[in-house]
């Protein structure tokens, strides 16, 4: 399920509309992930406050969306473009790749809430495919 030219155009188009709110998106998606999928909290035992909108959640949401932004800019070759991030996730963070799907779902929910008219079915499928491809690139170095 690789990204077609149409998918890439749709992702860039949507990203142009939403990137201004990237930090808010990241914070909301992460907040939801921690509440709706409590098992994800196991990765953040070092945070003082895991509640929605807390300082560490806001900061980390921005970090994650920075990675998504980088992925958009390197959409033509995600696996080589995200090599550093893949190594980070594989060797240091060691986040179970099943969680990429979980976070992706929550990003899509937030996009639906914040951009109901822009997040059309066509934008939805392109974004879902993109986030899948991103997750795949992040898991490149795992084994």
């Amino acid at each position: 399920m690789s990204l077609s030219a149409k998918d890439k155009a749709a992702v860039k188009d949507l990203w142009a509309k939403i990137s201004g709110k990237a930090d808010d998106i990241g914070q909301d998606a992460l907040s939801r992930m921690l509440v709706v999928y409590p098992q994800t909290k196991t990765y953040f035992s070092h945070w003082k406050d895991l509640s929605p909108g807390s300082a560490p959640v806001r900061k980390h949401g921005a970090t994650v969306m920075g990675g998504v932004a980088e992925a958009v800019s390197k959409i033509d070759d995600l696996s080589s473009g995200l090599l550093n991030l893949s190594e980070l996730h594989a060797f240091q963070l060691r986040v179970d790749p099943a969680n990429f799907k979980i976070l992706s779902h929550n990003i899509l929910v937030v996009l639906a809430i914040m951009f109901p008219t822009d997040f059309t079915p066509e934008a939805h499928v392109a974004m879902d495919k993109f986030l899948c491809a991103l997750a795949l690139a992040l898991s490149e170095k795992y084994r």
Partner: protein, 147 residues
């Protein structure tokens, strides 16, 4: 046995009460067919599904979307017996319709996203958690009679 807190019961009833089935049903099924196109395998008799706009304009999709979403009412009204409530529907989907039960999860995800589009910030993390818990119970019930 699934346990529901009073707060969860209230939330589910409230969300369901505000869902316009005639609007959300068609949008949800359309999204499933567009976002996960392999699901179209079950709808060979529905006519033109060849593009997103065709799916969105398709009357059979719209009607079936209403049918599917209306079926959630039984679960909302019977939170303590969802598995029994969907026993027959589960058998139907397995034996007659031959639907891969992974599709229930795909539909649930699309429904959550369409509900989010409609409810917006009212669909906060706590509401989302309860709603998704509810849908996961429905999905499990629909899968329960598969063999």
């Amino acid at each position: 046995m699934v346990e529901w807190s009073d707060s969860e019961r209230k939330t589910i009833a409230s969300v369901w009460g505000k869902i316009k089935v005639d609007k959300i049903g068609p949008q949800t099924l359309a999204r499933v067919l567009i976002v996960y196109p392999w699901t179209q395998r079950y709808f060979g008799s529905f006519g033109n599904l060849s593009s997103a706009s065709a799916v969105l304009a398709n009357l059979k999709v719209a009607n079936h979307g209403k049918t599917v979403l209306n079926a959630l009412d039984k679960a909302v009204k019977n939170l303590d017996g969802i598995k029994a409530t969907y026993s027959e529907l589960s058998q139907l989907h397995c034996n007659t319709l031959n639907v891969d039960p992974d599709n229930f999860r795909l539909l649930a995800d699309c429904l959550t996203i369409v509900v989010a589009t409609s409810f917006r910030s009212e669909f906060n993390p706590a509401v989302q958690a309860t709603w998704q818990k509810f849908l996961s119970v429905v999905v499990a019930a629909l899968s329960s009679r598969y063999h």
